[in-house]
């Protein structure tokens, strides 16, 4: 898995996170890029702002990895759109990445929680 590097941690974090978020969104069913962006924004209670350009590149990356597949279709409001759906491989990855993420956040939580407490006691 990606370990956050010092200088570029923002990008590294974003990349890994974005992939996971896309997979998670697509678990609900096929969706076009704009829908994925909206969905992520909405579900994260607008905390995440997804740079749309990066999103499309991430979609392309996942497609190249064959975690998702794509085909052109028509959107609910009758516009042409490219719909993405999860592949079997993508579902596996989602499970794996999710558990990785949870381990990571738990570990981070432990460290962050554990480092503030002692200093608080001392103060």
């Amino acid at each position: 898995m990606t370990t956050p590097r010092n200088a570029d941690d923002r990008i590294a974090l974003l990349q890994g996170t974005l992939d996971l978020l896309i997979l998670k969104t697509l678990v609900l069913g096929p969706c076009h890029g704009q829908g994925v962006a909206r969905s992520i924004q909405r579900q994260s209670e607008e905390v995440f702002f997804v740079d749309h350009g990066s999103l499309y590149l991430a979609l392309q990356r996942l497609e190249d990895k064959k975690w998702i597949s794509a085909r052109w279709g028509v959107s609910e409001n009758n516009r042409k759109a490219r719909f993405y759906s999860l592949t079997a491989k993508g579902r596996e990855q989602l499970v794996e990445k999710t558990s990785e993420w949870e381990r990571l956040t738990r570990a981070m939580g432990l460290i962050l929680g554990g480092s503030t407490q002692p200093s608080g006691e001392e103060a």
Partner: protein, 886 residues
């Protein structure tokens, strides 16, 4: 099975779809049409950047970028042709000059000799204890030949100018006498006919001659059937048996080869008559071969003692022997042209810095628009490649033209020059030089991009001209480097120039002006034993007749005759040992001569020169003491000699040489002793760069002209040489129709003698001039840039009361500062470099202070002139205008 790659268009369409969908949604949230579209775009970020990143995932990106950069560069060039033209021309000059000189070095120094396994070929000399390396004496060669076990073959040869008739016209050409192993040693086969047969290679065998391709073409009409040709050479007639291929030119410039076995053998072990070439056996090194011959030489020494001169043998690879001392000159040229290329590169680098500085804003904008630093570097590389390769192509064209011009200025004695051409190796060199320049400039530009703060340029570069301090400093460094390099070339050129001036201003010992020379050759009986009395008398009558008729030509002030033209053709002189035999019985034969010669107190060394009495008057060589040759001296009276002043001083320091009787018959085969009757002024007969030679002059009326002479008429006349020559040609044709004559003037002959020095001086001087111009332009650029950057500052200074002269001082001071540092660095570098060339200098040291000072002054003046132009512009700055642009 295999998936087609997704196209850029498909991706672009998806983005468009996204923007529409997003806009729809935003409209649904209550934005108006325009705002919806705008917000959709803002949320998306940079569409082109995203597309490019998509692109980058899937393509041979570097290639596309390269193509795009190339197209961009070409567009830039079209937009700013002056910049590109200056860059391309500067580099093309450097690359063209380097390539031309490399083509010479390639042909002369680098290309292997045109013989099979050329690395096995060597030249062999006797090695004397005093360091001299004379040719081999015949008997010593025979011993080397029969006793060695390291040579596959060993051959002796000698050559000299001879009159050859029997072709379409008589010609004075070089003819070589070669021993049996000569052609097999070199491993060459004739183009037509055959090599010498066994019958032609035994002593007193059947005469035969092999001619060169050039002679065959010119004098035998390239006729396939050789059987009808018989060439008359000196006293013999030789059937032509073969023609060598055009590539065969050994020894250099020889037109025909005859078997040396036709010559009577000379048993002497100190008559150094034979050049020797050999081929070592497979697997034998030159060092081993030398050790082998050394052992034989030491054995000869032990056996014959003082009868031999040699104490060792010298063995040198043939290629090195042929190139000889030309190597230093060629390496100097290569060095000079390399430095020139360096100056050109520095100049272009300076231009690139200025160019980049001028385009800082543009670069900053491109960076802001998402061009990564990597892309910018790539772009600089592309730019430098396009410019340099255009320069490379132009440079090769320049070199091609140069190679055509070169033969006109190359000294005739430069070996192997006929091979100079733009061939694969030369093109490869041009390509390598171009690539090196391109990479250097590209990396330089890239490094500049990497180090400079382009990203901040938008902020700080808002004002018109400002470049960073860093780029100004960098350009200063480049100009200092340029100045220093130019100074090195200038010093080299200056030292060569001063050497040349010293040389030509040195008096040869006579007046050189208005001398017409006619070199001809007379049929002589072959062999070294001289001519019989009647043949000599006939020859003297012919010479007398020619001289008498030439004297009648209107405008001919005086006509002298000599056995060799001094200085210009000094190599035609022969030198040797003479005996002082006062009162003793003169030697009756050469064995006796050799015995007397053992006693060093009775011998001396001198040049042997045949002359007429009028020769001295014609040249203006003064009689110091005694008398000249006179009417009373003829073949039957006692033979007389005149000697040069230095010989008199050195050989008879406390005695009067006049009246001394000497024996110099080893030079012309006539053992009649000579009585010294006069002392004449010294002549630098062997060359202006050498001390005056010790000379013994003999009278042609007594001794005639033999094989050791190259008969030459010298005529002093103020009339035009062409007119005199045309009349003289008629006289020669009438009196001696078979005698080829070469008409010239002494000045022309000296021109030939000075040709190699002049060639080197000319080219190094040319390179120095180009470098000087480039350095001047480079300095001008930096100072002009300095002024442009300080327009406002200067405006402010003027506004608050600075004088115009202060401005002039400020700007000129900047130029002077750079020039001074450049000159100082250059002088240090020159001190180290010119030492390597000291063998090329004459009469001055490699660190000649006058040359160094003069060159430094010249460069400083150019630098001041180059900075004066922008300084004047700075003085005229209008403070109002300058401040308005603040």
């Amino acid at each position: 099975m295999f998936r087609r790659k997704r196209s850029t268009e498909d991706f672009a369409e998806e983005i468009k779809a996204h923007l529409d969908l997003e806009a729809d949604e935003l409209r649904g949230e209550g934005l108006n049409e325009e705002e919806a579209h705008r917000n959709a775009r803002v949320a998306f970020g940079s569409v082109p950047a995203t597309q490019e990143r998509f692109h980058r995932r899937s393509r041979l990106l570097w290639f596309e970028n390269l193509m795009r950069d190339l197209i961009f560069t070409v567009r830039q060039i079209v937009k700013n042709p002056a910049f590109a033209a200056v860059v391309i021309l500067t580099l093309a000059l450097g690359i063209g000059a380097s390539t031309s000189i490399f083509s010479v070095a390639d042909a002369v120094l680098l290309r292997p000799l045109p013989y099979p396994n050329p690395q096995q070929l060597v030249r062999v000399w006797e090695q004397l204890p005093n360091g001299h390396r004379p040719n081999l004496a015949e008997s010593n060669f025979e011993d080397f030949f029969t006793q060695n076990n390291t040579f596959a073959s060993l051959a002796a040869y000698d050559y000299g100018v001879a009159s050859v008739s029997g072709g379409s016209e008589p010609a004075r050409v070089n003819v070589a006498a070669v021993s049996s192993g000569f052609f097999p040693t070199l491993g060459v086969q004739p183009l037509r006919g055959r090599l010498f047969a066994a019958d032609e290679l035994r002593p007193k065998g059947t005469p035969a001659i092999i001619v060169s391709y050039g002679y065959w073409q010119r004098y035998l009409g390239g006729t396939a059937d050789l059987s009808k040709f018989h060439l008359d050479l000196e006293a013999g007639s030789y059937p032509v048996v073969g023609v060598m291929p055009p590539s065969f030119d050994f020894p250099s410039d020889v037109a025909a080869w005859i078997p040396r076995e036709l010559d009577p053998p000379t048993p002497s072990r100190s008559a150094h008559n034979w050049r020797v070439v050999g081929r070592v056996r497979d697997g034998v090194t030159v060092v081993q071969a030398r050790a082998n011959l050394s052992a034989i030489a030491r054995r000869i020494r032990r056996q014959y003692g003082t009868q031999v001169d040699l104490s060792d043998a010298a063995v040198v690879p043939l290629a090195d022997a042929i190139v000889g001392d030309v190597r230093t000159a060629l390496l100097t040229l290569l060095g000079a042209v390399g430095l020139l290329l360096l100056v050109a590169c520095a100049n272009v680098a300076g231009l690139l810095v200025a160019h980049t500085a001028a385009h800082r804003k543009e670069l900053a904008i491109r960076t802001a628009l998402g061009a990564g630093r990597g892309r910018l570097i790539q772009q600089f590389l592309a730019e430098s490649f396009v410019l340099t390769f255009a320069a490379g192509i132009l440079g090769v064209l320049i070199a091609a033209a140069g190679v055509r011009i070169l033969p006109a200025i190359l000294p005739a004695n430069l070996p192997r020059q006929e091979g100079i051409a733009i061939n694969f190796a030369v093109l490869l060199f041009a390509l390598a030089a171009t690539a090196a320049v391109a990479i250097a400039l590209g990396l330089f530009a890239a490094w500049r991009t990497g180090s400079s703060d382009l990203q901040h340029a938008l902020g700080t570069g808002a004002r018109s001209h400002t470049g960073s301090i860093a780029s100004e400093r960098l350009r200063s460094l480049l100009v200092i480097g340029e100045m220093a390099t130019t100074l090195v070339i200038l010093v080299g050129a200056g030292l060569l120039g001063r050497s040349f001036l010293r040389l030509v201003s040195r008096s040869p010992g006579f007046r050189q002006e208005n001398l017409i020379t006619m070199e001809f050759s007379l049929p002589l009986p072959l062999g070294q034993e001289g001519m019989d009395q009647s043949a000599t008398a006939r020859q003297i009558r012919l010479l007398d007749g020619i001289v008498a008729r030439l004297r009648t030509i209107p405008g001919a002030a005086s006509v002298g005759l000599a056995g060799a033209l001094p200085v210009a053709a000094g190599d035609n002189l022969a030198d040797g040992l003479f005996l002082i035999i006062n009162g003793q019985k003169p030697p009756a034969n050469f064995d006796e001569f050799g015995r007397i010669g053992q006693n060093r107190s009775q011998t001396g060394l001198a040049e042997y020169a045949v002359a007429s009495e009028e020769y001295f008057r014609t040249l203006g060589v003064p009689l110091i003491r005694g008398r000249m040759f006179g009417e009373q001296d003829d073949m039957n009276s006692p033979h007389v000699a005149m000697i040069s002043e230095s010989l008199a001083r050195n050989r008879w320091p406390n005695q009067d040489p006049i009246g001394q009787v000497i024996e110099f018959g080893n030079m012309d085969g006539n053992l009649k002793p000579l009585t010294i009757i006069g002392i004449v002024g010294d002549v630098r007969a062997r060359g202006l760069d050498l001390p005056p030679s010790p000379i013994i002059y003999v009278d042609y009326r007594q001794r005639g002209m033999n094989a050791n002479s190259t008969p030459t008429i010298v005529m002093r006349s103020t009339a035009s040489a062409g007119e005199i020559a045309s009349v003289a040609r008629g006289i020669f044709h009438e009196l001696a129709p078979d005698v080829p004559v070469k008409f010239s003037t002494f000045a022309e002959d000296m021109g030939g003698w000075l040709a190699d020095r002049r060639f080197l001086l000319l080219l190094v001087g040319l390179f120095a001039c180009i470098a000087l111009i480039l350095a001047g332009v480079g300095l001008y650029g930096v100072v002009a840039f300095f002024v442009a950057q300080r327009t406002q500052e200067i405006g402010v200074r003027l506004a608050i009361g600075a004088q115009r002269s202060d401005v002039l001082r400020l700007v000129m001071g900047e130029g002077a500062r750079l020039a001074a540092i450049g000159v100082a660095v250059g002088i240090c570098a020159s001190l180290a470099i010119t030492r390597l060339m000291s063998s090329l200098f004459f009469g001055i040291s490699a660190t000649d202070p006058l040359t160094f000072a003069g060159v430094a002054l010249l460069l400083s003046l150019i630098a001041l002139a180059a900075s004066y132009i922008p300084a004047r512009r700075a003085m005229r700055i209008d403070p109002i205008n300058a401040l308005r642009y603040e």
